[in-house]
């Protein structure tokens, strides 16, 4: 054992196209964790709302949370899928924003978000059904 850390995330439906519940049986989850500048919350959340609107139109479902317990000003986006081919077929926020708002507006939204970002990590985690428990 090297470390154990607990965090609690609060579901943010205004930024999410899906529910907060991990779909049981989905094999992979892409998790994007972003720490933002507290002074730039408004700009970042405008970006989040704009991405959500674009995702809704495109039928893309990503769920987003902010930290309730754990590192503050941290936003998490989760996308669930069963194969890497499925993942590759779904456009990311830059493409979705461009499709929805055009190049200039999309770039402005992304510039605002990028100025707010202090750090960001991308990770893929895999469900381990043999270590999981679902009540009967």
């Amino acid at each position: 054992m090297v470390s154990i850390e607990n965090t609690v995330g609060a579901f943010r439906p205004e930024f999410s196209g899906g529910s907060n519940a991990p779909a049981l049986g989905q094999r992979y989850a892409s998790v994007v964790t972003t720490e933002i500048d507290p002074a730039q919350v408004a700009a970042y959340e405008l970006f989040q709302r704009s991405v959500k609107a674009a995702e809704d139109k495109a039928g893309v479902r990503r769920t987003r949370r902010t930290t309730a317990n754990g590192p503050a000003f941290t936003y998490t986006a989760v996308f669930l899928y069963d194969s890497f081919a499925q993942r590759a077929s779904v456009p990311g926020p830059p493409q979705l924003l461009t499709n929805e708002y055009g190049v200039e507006r999309a770039q402005a939204l992304m510039d605002g978000a990028n100025r707010a970002v202090l750090s960001r990590t991308f990770a893929v985690i895999e469900l381990r059904p043999d270590l999981s428990r679902t009540p009967n």
Binding site: S19, N20, E126
Partner: protein, 105 residues
């Protein structure tokens, strides 16, 4: 063996403080994530322990769902995330701890 004992005790203590949350398929207000980083040489020991915890939960009829994930890309592959959902903070008041679950089972 000493390392395994340490692993079991450490996990038990931490989870006793912050137990697994309830989880449903319906949208939930909160998501509890316990991130456990395991020493690379102790993965098998950890996974055996995690199975025992889940078996104990089933034996005592714990209604909560726990989804365990393992790091695959972009991070440590010896990192595990126990993910559970809940709707209300008050739910935490009735959650048994891992040591309680193991003793009861």
């Amino acid at each position: 063996m000493k390392l395994l004992s340490t692993l079991v005790v450490a996990l038990g203590l931490v989870v006793a403080v912050v137990p697994f949350a309830a989880a449903q398929n319906a949208p939930s207000n909160f998501l509890n994530v316990l991130t456990i980083t395991v020493h690379p040489g102790k993965v098998v020991d950890f996974e055996n322990f995690a199975r025992k915890v889940q078996e104990a939960g089933e034996e005592i009829g714990d209604p909560r769902t726990v989804q365990m994930f393992q790091g695959r890309l972009g991070g440590l592959t010896t990192q595990y995330l126990a993910v559970t959902l809940f709707n209300d903070w008050a739910e935490m008041d009735s959650w048994p701890t891992v040591p309680q679950m193991l003793v009861e089972a």
